[in-house]
């Protein structure tokens, strides 16, 4: 579980843990957007083949035009001019990360061989910052306990008659939102739903992250929604959007007790605040001092990392129990991605068969890992839970398992640990089809 990010926090237990689906609410009057009349999106296309120079001549199509209302945190925000150019026989700079879903393939004019060239060009103000966001609203904690900072927000209603050849005008109505850094495109790491409000309280909701186009440009992670109806765009005063609300898919319970969270409820009276330094008795949570001044505010938004180990991954995995005359199995669906031994990986198998063998497999999701028999100490499972509240029902130790690898050094590398023994299905990992919480340290 994650501790609350603000409000009353108790040393031991603050009573009923609050549940909310709100990840971050800037509140009204947080945003002040700047109007950028220079905004537009473009895509290059081949115009015709010039036989005299044996090369294609290019032209540029306008996809989106109109006034964009923008918050831009800094020069490294996603909203910046791409400095794209049409050099007649070549193009350059069509590499914007906002609006990439509008990119077209195929013919540009419907005449013969003219085709669009991949990449979006963005015209934007040269200012390093645009608009403003109140300082208290700039950062928040995602549900996976990480600190996030808003880098971008923008909205533009397309005044161009189309969004490229044969594309409707309102396809180019776009809204974008960005966070500093490489934020995984997941509910836990980012958000599920974004709602924007103007100062009158009118808003556009159901801007689901899963429906946005996601890009990471090396500095910020940016989500862009497009194809928003004119009626929705006209419903709000785009120039006066002042509030953004980020919510999770379902209510998340936050812990309001430091000891409850950091000791897992194992500490008993007298509860001493000094026990909750990092690397102390109960936890190894990054961001908490190891000595000296310790404040309650240090614990806001933190999720416990266990002592003796660094939290590698924690999240829910769907569990399936299946019994036939051939075999009985308890299996989990794949996990979300995490970093393991420096590579983006996921749990592709956490299963037991016939009550006699357990299998844990990590699978590469990027790069070409060379997995080794190291890097994690325990796997803990909370049956039927969506969080790590209380003690785990099962703890697996890597030192008890046999290691093997497949396709090491390739993009399909997997690392597998197996353990033989006697494992009851009630314990490992349940006899109902449900969701289990799995934590790897």
């Amino acid at each position: 579980m994650t501790l609350i990010s603000s409000g009353a926090l108790a040393l031991k237990d603050g009573g009923t843990n609050p549940s909310t689906s709100t990840i971050h609410d800037t509140g009204f009057s947080a945003f002040s957007l700047a109007a950028d009349t220079s905004f537009s999106l473009h895509q290059a296309y081949r115009l015709f083949f010039d036989g005299e120079v044996n090369a294609w001549e290019y032209s540029v199509d306008t996809l989106v035009d109109g006034t964009a209302y923008v918050y831009k945190r800094s020069s490294t925000s996603a909203y910046h001019d791409s400095n794209h150019q049409n050099n007649i026989y070549s193009t350059s700079g069509f590499n914007a990360d906002i609006g990439t879903a509008l990119e077209l393939t195929g013919t540009a004019t419907g005449q013969g061989a003219q085709t669009y060239v991949s990449g979006i060009g963005l015209n934007a103000s040269s200012s390093s910052t645009l608009g403003s966001l109140s300082s208290s609203a700039q950062t928040f904690s995602s549900t996976d306990g990480n600190s996030r900072t808003i880098s971008d927000f923008g909205i533009c209603q397309n005044t161009n008659s189309n969004t490229g050849y044969n594309q409707s005008q309102d396809k180019g109505n776009i809204i974008w939102f960005g966070l500093v850094g490489q934020v995984s495109n997941t509910n836990a790491a980012a958000f599920y739903n974004l709602t924007l409000y103007d100062s009158s309280g009118n808003g556009i909701s159901s801007l689901l992250r899963q429906n946005a186009t996601y890009e990471y440009d090396g500095n910020v992670s940016i989500w862009t929604w497009h194809n928003i109806s004119d009626s929705n765009m006209n419903f709000v005063n785009q120039s006066n959007i002042t509030r953004v609300l980020l919510t999770s898919a379902s209510a998340v319970t936050f812990n309001n007790g430091i000891s409850e969270e950091m000791s897992g409820g194992t500490d008993a009276n007298p509860i001493e605040f000094s026990d909750y330094y990092k690397d102390g008795t109960y936890h190894n949570t990054v961001g908490i001092p190891t000595s000296g001044q310790l404040a309650f505010s240090d614990f806001y938004g933190k999720a416990r990392t266990g002592s003796g180990g660094t939290l590698i991954h924690g999240g829910t995995q769907a569990h399936t129990y299946s019994s036939s005359q051939y075999f009985t199995s308890s299996t989990h669906g794949v996990s979300s991605n995490f970093t393991f031994q420096g590579y983006t990986s996921r749990v592709s198998s956490l299963a037991q068969f016939n009550g006699t063998s357990i299998t844990l497999t990590f699978q590469a999701q990027s790069g070409s890992p060379i997995y080794t028999n190291s890097g994690w100490t325990t796997v803990k499972v909370w049956r039927g839970q969506s969080n790590n509240s209380g003690s785990p029902d099962v703890t697996l130790y890597r030192t008890n398992m046999t290691f093997s690898v497949s396709n090491n050094g390739t993009s399909t590398a997997t690392a597998t640990w197996t353990q033989s023994g006697t494992f009851s299905f009630a314990t490992y990992f349940g006899t109902s089809n449900t969701t289990n919480y799995v934590e790897i340290e």
Partner: protein
Amino acid sequence: MAITITETNNAPRTIDADGNISELLPSTVTVSDGSNTVVQNIVYTDENVDWNLTKKLAINSYDNQYGQIRTANLNTTSNAGKSVRDDVYMAGSIARRDYSIDTVEGSALVDELEAGWEDFIPDYRRNNKNLVSEFTPMRPPYINNSISYYDMQVPTDELKTHFSLPYNVYLPFHGLKFDKTTSDVVIKAMIPQSEMNAQHPDLCKAIENIIPTIGSHFFGIIYNSSGEMSPLVDVYFTASYEIVSQQWCNNTVIDLAVPYTDETLHPKLSYWGAVYNSDFDRITHLKAYITHYLDDE
């Protein structure tokens, strides 16, 4: 009972100053049989919405809670310890019958194995619930009449060495096929999805792209004594009859007849088995395993 599968895409809504929100249209896949409904949120592959995968996960979730997985679990649990006969249907008729070796029919076939392939494995009667059958080949790679023997344990180290099996993780059962003409023996190694994905990722992906559900499936890979892997791969999955007959067999992805049509067999349906031909990237045969617990019959 018709099963409907519906894809719903999201569009942004408006919310007015009084908090009134326009109609919600979430992005989901819904599976419903008219009485029971499962809603699966869309999932991503490589950061793009994957409707195909979402649909398969939705089907698996439905079958877990209300459909075939639940039915099969109940059937197995309530008949634990009984002798078994699996009727394997293909193209409308029974292609073969697998008997547990504690039946009269099964024991007779084990007598043949002990006589013809003495010592190939230490003990053919190790587990009463091992399955055996004699079959006339209806599909490759089988050519001659053979005896099929399923042993409810992972392959022994001796078998792994004999057939040069490359896997790290095995399901706790495997098949041996004894050719009555040549006396050759091949093995069908049964492996979970994770191992298939680890050892044959392209093959795994190609097959999972075709089968109608994901989550309960596993694979059978055939090896001969030269360590050669057959290009014909078996994939087994659990899905409701309606899903397979209505949503899968009758579309352009797989143009095969439903293995059986007798609705009274539905409660006994354990698995579907599809044969994927990697040379042609298509499913060439579809089987249905109907499990009869014989003490009641």
